[in-house]
């Protein structure tokens, strides 16, 4: 129990660091965005006071208070769900996040589950066939695919499947002739149809990592005494592979899966922007292009919260899944 509290505190502290970094970058460094915003309003003919009130409507703190009070106000804002106002979309940031989050969760969780399952099967297969041509080809693919920027692969996929063969739409979350306000089968099918290429790109670029981890995990389990014992008892190979090797080799991957779920908002930046998919990564990039600082910090904070929460859950999960892991 003490361990859980300590982990929880560390998670909170990490979150605090993310918030502080955001505050530091946007408020403290010379030539910071808040100062520039004030200057721009003043250049537009506003007095200093008018510029201040306009800026304070956008960010959740008053820019003329002492800096530590601004920081406390910013923290209060984050924890009470006031992330400021987006200038570009003229909407509260939380509302935009509420629209964007489901899109990312939808596309990424499907992709992650597919690449996780495929990675486990292929990784175990290559561990059993290590040294063979298939192992070499797959291992090579795995390392190259993890080093290839996701949009670079995405270009090939769009060019072949969307532009040349015209099999799938190249961008957007749904077709132009469905009404997103009416949730029916037609809308759902259109959403699924549009998600195919982003999901394919995500799976192809993340699969390699799963293959490599599963392969090395399986190889280390194969050297365990209980596997030799199972072989000596004359158990069938299939049974050994499934209930002795597989079950133990997957364990560390579950934690990684939970952590990957947390990294979903940060990890789809390139894919969402390539396919114009309205998730967090897309809004983060647009916000940067429009220099919409409230929205940038909102998107960044939601990515951080997801990572921290997922790490916390992964730590708890690992103790539950594997009784051999003891917490001090």
């Amino acid at each position: 129990m003490k361990w859980v509290v300590r982990k929880g505190l560390l998670s909170l502290f990490t979150l605090l660091c993310s918030i502080t970094i955001t505050f530091f970058l946007f408020r403290i460094i010379p030539g910071n965005p808040v100062d520039i915003m004030i200057l721009e309003y003043m250049r537009g003919g506003d007095s200093y006071e008018e510029a201040l009130t306009k800026v304070s409507r956008i960010i959740p703190f008053l820019p003329n208070k002492p800096i530590h009070e601004q920081y406390v106000d910013f923290l209060k804002g984050v924890f009470t769900g006031n992330l400021g106002y987006s200038i570009w979309l003229a909407t509260p940031v939380t509302k935009i996040l509420g629209y964007a989050i489901p899109w990312t969760i939808f596309a990424v969780s499907i992709s992650l589950i597919i690449s996780f399952l495929l990675g486990i099967v292929i990784g175990m297969y290559t561990a059993y066939k290590r040294g063979s041509i298939i192992d070499k080809v797959l291992s090579f693919y795995s390392s190259v695919s993890t080093a290839t920027p996701q949009n670079v692969l995405g270009f090939f996929i769009i060019w072949i499947l969307a532009v040349q063969l015209r099999l799938f739409p190249s961008s957007g979350p749904y077709g132009p002739n469905v009404d997103p306000k009416v949730f029916n089968l037609e809308f759902l099918l259109s959403v699924l149809y549009h998600a195919i290429l982003p999901i394919l790109t995500y799976v192809l670029t993340s699969l390699g990592g799963w293959i490599l981890t599963m392969k090395s995990s399986t190889v280390s389990v194969l050297g365990e005494n209980y596997v030799t014992a199972a072989e000596a008892r004359g158990l069938k190979d299939r049974r050994i592979a499934l209930s002795y090797v597989g079950r133990n080799a997957i364990l560390p991957l579950f934690t990684r899966f939970a952590i990957s779920l947390g990294f979903m908002f940060g990890g789809v930046l390139l894919i969402e922007n390539l396919f114009l998919y309205p998730g967090i990564g897309r809004y983060l990039n647009l916000a940067v292009n429009y220099r919409d600082y409230s929205l940038i910090s909102g998107c960044f904070l939601i990515t951080s919260v997801a990572v921290v929460a997922a790490n916390f859950i992964a730590d708890l999960l690992y103790g539950k899944l594997d009784p051999r892991v003891k917490f001090d």
């Binding site: 990490t14 190259v144 080093a147 270009f155 990890g267 916000a287 951080s304």
Partner: protein, 287 residues
């Protein structure tokens, strides 16, 4: 490295065609970046009459939307792409080694503190942080600043790896011997630990290089950073801006930098797996 060790390294590399391929790729890109611009000087003036010419002897990769030679842009862009990657690699390696070695060697409270900081940085998503930093700086960045920012973002994983490598070396008998001889902490760090860490540092450098290329493609192709000169990531960004994906004439322009990036990353990975075999004899496969 002595001549004998160099020869044995060469022997290991020459046994595997994939390693040779990796070195050939890297060398040709280095050649392209150093010698190439001498033959194909950068010319970004617009030639409206030559828009989207197909490949020919004069323009081996055709021309872009403004009639500029694509091969010329690829060659001149390689210089900046490689330079940012190398600088990023150096910055990352420096921070990571400093933190990893001091954490592993000094131990105790400092180790605990440094590893907590590393853990926290590992949990902050890399590319969003990169965007955040880039967005908060309102002026145009130069090459060194871009490399520095990428280095700041990607050091934690390598620092943690370096620490565990140091811890493993520390337990080896010759370190114990040095300690018994009372050779002093500085002597042990610089004369015993660092030389034995060298192979790992080289591999970490290649890891940081691939990271540096990935990160600059993120920054430039998304249009987060803009340069007045030319590099591969920016070529992608500009090509997309001219909707090169749906323009049948423009696909060579879009895919030239993409193929270069994939080739370079492949080469770097082939080299790092070759290096792993050189440094770790247990991995060598007997043919």
């Amino acid at each position: 490295m002595s001549f004998k060790r160099l020869m044995s390294a060469f022997k290991i590399i020459s046994k595997k065609p994939s390693s040779i391929f990796g070195f050939v790729i890297l060398l040709s890109f280095i050649l392209m970046a150093t010698v190439g611009p001498l033959f194909f000087s950068l010319d970004l003036r617009a030639y409206p009459a030559k828009r989207y010419l197909p490949p020919s002897l004069e323009h081996p990769l055709g021309t872009d939307f403004a009639g500029r030679d694509v091969l010329m842009q690829i060659i001149n862009g390689s210089r900046e792409a490689l330079l940012i990657a190398i600088l990023t690699g150096a910055v990352t390696l420096l921070i990571a080694t400093l933190i990893g070695v001091s954490s592993g060697m000094l131990g105790g409270l400092l180790d605990e503190a440094l590893m907590r900081v590393t853990e926290i940085f590992l949990m902050i998503p890399q590319y969003p942080l990169l965007l955040l930093i880039a967005a908060s700086i309102s002026r145009e960045l130069n090459l060194f600043e871009v490399s520095f920012i990428i280095g700041i973002v990607q050091w934690p994983a390598i620092a943690r790896a370096t620490r565990s490598q140091v811890l493993a070396i520390r337990e080896r008998p010759f370190i114990e011997a040095a300690r018994c001889l009372n050779l002093g902490r500085l002597h042990i760090i610089f004369r015993e630990i660092i030389p034995n860490l060298m192979p790992y540092l080289v591999m970490n450098f290649f890891l940081a290089l691939t990271g540096g290329i990935y990160a600059q493609v993120v920054l430039f192709s998304l249009g987060i950073l803009r340069f007045t000169s030319i590099n591969w990531g920016m070529m992608i960004n500009i090509a997309l801006g001219e909707s090169a994906l749906i323009n049948q004439k423009a696909w060579i322009y879009l895919f030239s930098p993409i193929v270069c990036i994939v080739l370079l990353q492949t080469g770097l990975i082939l080299i790092s797996s070759a290096l792993e075999e050189i440094f770790n004899p247990r991995l060598r496969t007997e043919e």
